[in-house]
């Protein structure tokens, strides 16, 4: 016969195990922090070109087709990891725009030369002002904008190939409709 007090630990443990199971089994992604921009028009883009001889970012850059706006920096170590994914996205017909956050033209040029350049245009956000408009938490972050210029999705952190194929591809398909 079980004593009431002796049952207490088991009861507590059962509750905890239940909570752990719930935490584990629900789709769990701590990286999803809501962005106030989702479902709203993207902030106006007005940034000088980061690379000599190429164009900067203008509001027109966001019209026509699906655009990914990637906020990166040459001093950002994890950004290196997402370059192949961005390249793949470019191959798949997504216009990839870059915003270089608190960076210098020399470093960006060197960095893109070393790690590849998936961007059709790169704007330089020297003081980090544009990043404030976009609500950037840190680099890298990527925003997905549909043909109407509405922000549909925000990805925080480096975009892995897995993120892209598992989550973003279906989303992009949907945005194309």
């Amino acid at each position: 016969m079980a004593h009431k007090a002796a049952l207490m630990p088991l009861a507590c443990f059962a509750v905890l195990a239940g909570v752990f199971a719930m935490a584990l089994l629900r789709e769990h992604n701590p990286a999803i922090l809501p962005s106030a921009l989702i479902g709203k028009p993207a902030p106006a883009l007005e940034l000088p070109a980061a690379l000599k001889g190429s164009k900067g970012l203008t509001p027109e850059a966001l019209t026509g087709g699906i655009t990914a706006v990637n906020i990166f920096a040459s001093w950002c170590v994890t950004c290196v990891g997402e370059q192949p994914t961005l390249m793949q996205m470019k191959k798949d017909g997504v216009t990839v725009l870059g915003i270089a956050y608190k960076d210098s033209r020399e470093n960006i040029a060197l960095w893109l030369q070393k790690h590849g350049n998936p961007f059709s245009a790169v704007g330089l956000d020297e003081k980090g002002r544009a990043a404030i408009d976009w609500g950037v938490y840190g680099v890298p972050e990527t925003y997905f904008i549909d043909a109407e210029g509405i922000v549909r999705h925000k990805h925080i952190g480096a975009l892995s190939m897995q993120d892209y194929t598992a989550k973003l591809k279906p989303l992009l398909e949907e945005m194309r409709k």
Binding site: A6, P9, F13, V19, F20, A23, L24, V77, V80
Partner: protein
């Protein structure tokens, strides 16, 4: 070929574990001696097989066999040999195998246990067999380190350079010795519940296991904290990170267990509670592993998150802890035997100690799992930070300290309070004076620091006073080893608490841009940046700042913080520059260069006074445990 041999050995070990679980447990139930005796050879064979399996992995890593998937993912030919071998347990799969190996080795220690009744031993080994079967099936079915790669890779993907560190290489084995060591206490507790019997003899068998595990855990936590201090470059030694808490929780439960098992061994009381703590210590080790491995809690340390593994570990946790607690619910009432003691006695003091430790444990546990609970119930994402712990733990520590000073003075069974209180006036006054001193010197009053310094000095003073009286003013030292162990551990706790408080409350911090030859006046020092040099290390290139530190014109030493780039892993790390001055440490990290002027660099400095008291305190605590383990000799009797 050798890898397949290792894989096969592990499969065989799993089958043997199942046999070790079933046959002796059933044999003990039916009182068949020959069945019970089977546990010993089974345990020894399992440890042999798991060792073979582990060495097959070491072999693959040492020779950089890139046809093995884990080797490709975690090693590199350019890596120094010691890190190639450490890479075996630097990842999820390998560290689970290390866990199984350590469990197997601990189990063989139980096989050699003297003066243990055969049924108790057979049952404990049987439960160990159940645990081992659980871990081995987790390795084989959900995280096999033996997978081959077809075709083999040409080169490995390196180990995270942050993890390329001697301290970190030895940290997991030490920590696991602690975690897994508690499994033996767990097995003995389960066996006691099956037998409905937990007496002084049982406590005497359990205590050395719990103590040894606790010593390893103490060292493991200390090493981890020291590693975080100099490697992460954040200028702190404890971040209340979930992974750190995961190692602290079983330590707290283990500390409580060591105090309650002493009561059971000497006086025969607190039986059910001691059994419960033995179950708790290991369950918390498991929970910690679960929280880290499953990705339920994200943290800087999380290096493997896989939902399937999480489900598997949760099932293991449910079966092991749930099973033991179920047994506890039905059998603990039988353990109750009237072993009465008065409200004022050593027993009460130790019980009160358990209440405090348990409250601290509950506080840390709540802070750790609260974010998980919130996110499970869709109530948002939060993190619980240091302010919560400071706020909750400081008020607990002061009464805890008062008790810690008084407890060892009380006699077993029934004690007189008045003389003890009278005796403690001296340490109390001394500690109060010491605690108020920094306030006078600096003409600023920090309430939290004052309270904690008071707690630390009071524990220190009361413990020394107790040593003084018990040894009859240092005239005779023939006291039980456990007394000296207690003195060392309590002094260690006081020293550690003082170090943690002083280095946090009176630290200095400065971040700035510096150019060569620039001089910074920082804390009591003048720090000069002599220059920045670039160079090539073993498998990385680096920038190194040369700094000289002087105080009042006299040179103290140099600091050389580095920024490293590992091309193999495409990662940058920063190496802290440390300079010891007395008990304090001057700490420097090198940051980025100015884009326009590469000679201008960001530098960050910390000065942590008295921080060396921390490792000193932790060492004393661990040493106290080791001393308490020494066998009683020459007719000494228990304290």
């Amino acid at each position: 070929m050798i890898i397949e041999l290792g894989h096969f050995a592990l499969v065989f070990a799993l089958l043997l574990s199942l046999a070790m679980a079933a046959v002796p447990l059933f044999g003990a139930h039916r009182e068949r001696e020959s069945w019970m005796r089977l546990a010993k050879p089974a345990a020894i064979s399992i440890s042999g097989l798991v060792t073979i399996s582990f060495f097959s992995l070491i072999h693959a890593y040492a020779l950089s066999d890139f046809s093995v998937r884990m080797v490709v993912e975690n090693s590199h030919t350019m890596k120094p040999v010691i890190y190639k071998i450490a890479a075996v347990w630097g990842n999820h799969e390998g560290s689970m195998l290390l866990w199984a190996l350590i469990l197997a080795l601990w189990t063989t220690r139980l096989v050699r246990q003297k003066e243990i009744p055969l049924p108790l031993q057979a049952r404990a080994l049987g439960v160990a067999g159940l645990l081992q079967a659980g871990f081995l099936s987790f390795i084989l079915f959900a995280s096999s380190p033996f997978q081959r790669l077809e075709p083999p890779a040409k080169e490995g993907l390196d180990l995270n350079p942050v993890l390329q560190d001697v301290l970190l290489a030895i940290h997991p084995p030490v920590l696991y010795m602690g975690y897994v060591g508690f499994s033996i206490a767990f097995c003995l507790a389960a066996a006691a519940l099956i037998e409905k019997k937990a007496d002084s003899n049982w406590a005497g068998i359990l205590r050395p296991y719990a103590m040894t595990a606790w010593i390893f855990l103490t060292c493991g936590i200390g090493l981890g904290s020291f590693w975080a201090y100099y490697e992460l470059g954040w200028g702190g030694f404890w971040f209340w990170d979930p992974v750190e808490n995961a190692s602290l929780l079983p330590w707290l439960a283990g500390t409580a267990l060591l105090h309650s098992v002493a009561v059971l061994e000497k006086r025969g009381s607190l039986r059910g509670w001691t059994v419960f703590l033995a179950i708790l210590a290991f369950s918390l080790s498991l929970t910690g592993t679960f929280l880290v491995r499953s990705g339920v809690l994200t943290s800087v340390h999380a290096f493997a998150s896989d939902p399937l593994r999480g489900v598997f570990i949760l099932a293991l946790l449910g079966a092991m802890t749930g099973g033991a607690l179920l047994l506890y619910a039905f059998r603990a009432p039988y353990l109750k035997i009237a072993g009465g003691f008065r409200p004022v006695s050593r027993e009460s003091a130790l019980l009160l100690n358990n209440v405090f430790l348990f409250t601290v444990l509950a506080t840390v546990f709540t802070g750790t799992v609260y974010p998980v609970i919130l996110s499970a119930l869709d109530l948002g994402t939060v993190t619980v930070g240091p302010p919560y712990y400071t706020l909750c733990l400081t008020p607990l520590l002061v009464p805890f300290a008062l008790l810690m000073g008084a407890g060892p003075n009380l006699a077993w069974r029934e004690a007189q309070l008045a003389p003890v209180l009278k005796k403690l006036i001296l340490p109390f006054v001394a500690a109060a004076g010491l605690a108020l001193l920094p306030g006078f010197l600096r003409s600023e009053f920090q309430p939290v620091a004052t309270a904690l310094i008071f707690a630390a000095s009071y524990i220190g003073a009361a413990t020394l006073q107790e040593l003084f009286t018990k040894t009859n003013r240092f005239r005779h030292f023939r006291l039980p080893a456990s007394f000296y162990g207690m003195v060392l551990a309590h002094l260690g706790f006081a020293v550690m608490l003082a170090g943690a408080t002083a280095s946090t409350a009176w630290k200095s911090e400065e971040t700035l841009w510096m150019k060569p030859q620039q001089i910074l006046a920082f804390a009591d020092y003048d720090i000069t940046l002599r220059g920045i040099q670039a160079g090539l290390g073993k498998n990385y290139d680096f920038d190194r700042a040369q700094l000289t530190v002087a105080t009042e014109g006299l040179a103290v030493g140099t600091l050389a913080p580095e920024k490293r780039w590992y091309p193999g892993a495409q990662r940058a790390t920063s190496e802290t520059g440390l300079l010891r001055d007395g008990l304090g440490i001057v700490y420097a990290t090198l940051g980025d260069a100015d884009a326009k002027d590469p000679l201008r660099r960001v530098l960050r400095f910390y000065f942590h006074p008295f921080i060396l008291l921390l490792p000193l305190g932790v060492t004393l605590i661990a040493l106290g445990g080791a001393v308490a383990l020494l066998r009683r000799k020459r007719g000494e009797h228990g304290a």
